[in-house]
């Protein structure tokens, strides 16, 4: 079986800088200004890829959670946790950049009547409850199991929510892809796809970074436990009658 070797963190970081930097350059110097929205539409190349990556992170977490429940391997639980963590960070960025775009386009920071905005906020708040739910359980194994069940249930909610919003009738939020008008022109679509690739790379790099930090943290804890348990054992062996000391 062919095993794909993961690129190093440094390679991923460099690729992210190149692709995301290139995408932003394309957005400002290559993609034409939108006839309807004008220059404000440049936010689209930032906001939409961030939102897609946030939702993708939540779905990825559900996949890892399924793997965790199937195999019992704690690494999948850690990956699900990190996916949700990154999803929340990207979700925060999507909400903030979306609010700035809404202010420029609609004159309001937030529109409660708009299903796209409200549904994204619901999904975001749903995942924000993941942390208190997880850390309310002390037993590590139960904590991981319950967190996986949550990640699967909430993950199933993400595509359902997306479909429900698409079916909703009153929409102020623009529908860019797969519209009857033919969607994005070539230059805009190309720029958007490069921006999406860059944002996905950023997500993957930050996730890898977070996982590496978590693994190091775990190894430090193991080392501390080993050193701490060695000291009393050695002392006891010296004190005990017939001990080596």
């Amino acid at each position: 079986m062919i095993r794909l070797e993961m690129p190093s963190l440094r390679t991923m970081a460099l690729a992210t800088v190149v692709v995301l930097g290139g995408a932003f350059a394309l957005a400002f110097f290559y993609a034409p200004n939108d006839a309807d929205q004008g220059f404000v539409q440049k936010i689209f190349y930032l906001h939409v890829p961030i939102a897609i990556c946030a939702l993708g992170g939540f779905i990825l977490a559900a996949i890892y959670a399924i793997a965790h429940l199937r195999t019992g391997n704690p690494i999948h639980d850690v990956r699900a946790y990190v996916s949700i963590h990154m999803g929340i960070i990207f979700g925060t960025a999507a909400l903030l950049t979306g609010a700035i775009w809404a202010r420029a386009a609609w004159g309001k920071w937030w529109v409660w009547e708009e299903p796209t905005l409200v549904s994204f906020l619901i999904v975001y708040l749903l995942y924000a409850t993941y942390y208190p739910l997880r850390y309310a359980i002390e037993d590590r194994e139960r904590q991981a199991r319950y967190a996986s069940v949550f990640a699967i249930t909430a993950g199933a909610f993400v595509p359902l929510n997306f479909i429900a919003v698409r079916l909703a009738e009153s929409l102020v939020h623009p529908r860019v892809f797969a519209t009857s008008e033919g969607g994005l022109p070539g230059e805009m679509l190309f720029t958007f796809l490069v921006a999406l690739a860059g944002m996905a790379l950023l997500f993957a790099t930050l996730m890898r970074f977070e996982l590496a930090a978590k693994a190091t943290r775990g190894q430090i804890s193991r080392l501390r436990r080993a050193l701490d348990s060695e000291a009393p054992a050695a002392a006891a062996s010296r004190i005990a009658p017939g001990g080596s000391g």
Partner: protein, 76 residues
């Protein structure tokens, strides 16, 4: 949806990109603090391990020295 003039739209576009970069910087700063804490903890553990190694050598050193002394006597 009438398009905003460039000078008006520019500040919103700049704002959105600045927010993104600021969030990224906050994340990197938090990670830097966490990594610095891990570095400190690792340095503590290295000190602890060195102290242990020294005390173990010290404890094992005496019987070893006695054994060396005996072997020198036998050879001599």
């Amino acid at each position: 949806m009438p398009a905003l003039p460039l000078d008006e739209a520019g500040k919103y576009v700049a704002g959105a990109y600045v927010v993104f970069v600021a969030l990224l910087l906050i994340y990197v700063a938090i990670m830097a603090v966490r990594i610095d804490r891990m570095r400190e903890e690792l340095s503590d553990l290295a000190d602890l391990a060195e102290r242990k190694a020294r005390s173990t050598q010290h404890a094992a050193g005496r019987p070893q020295a006695e054994a060396d002394e005996r072997s020198r006597e036998v050879v001599g």
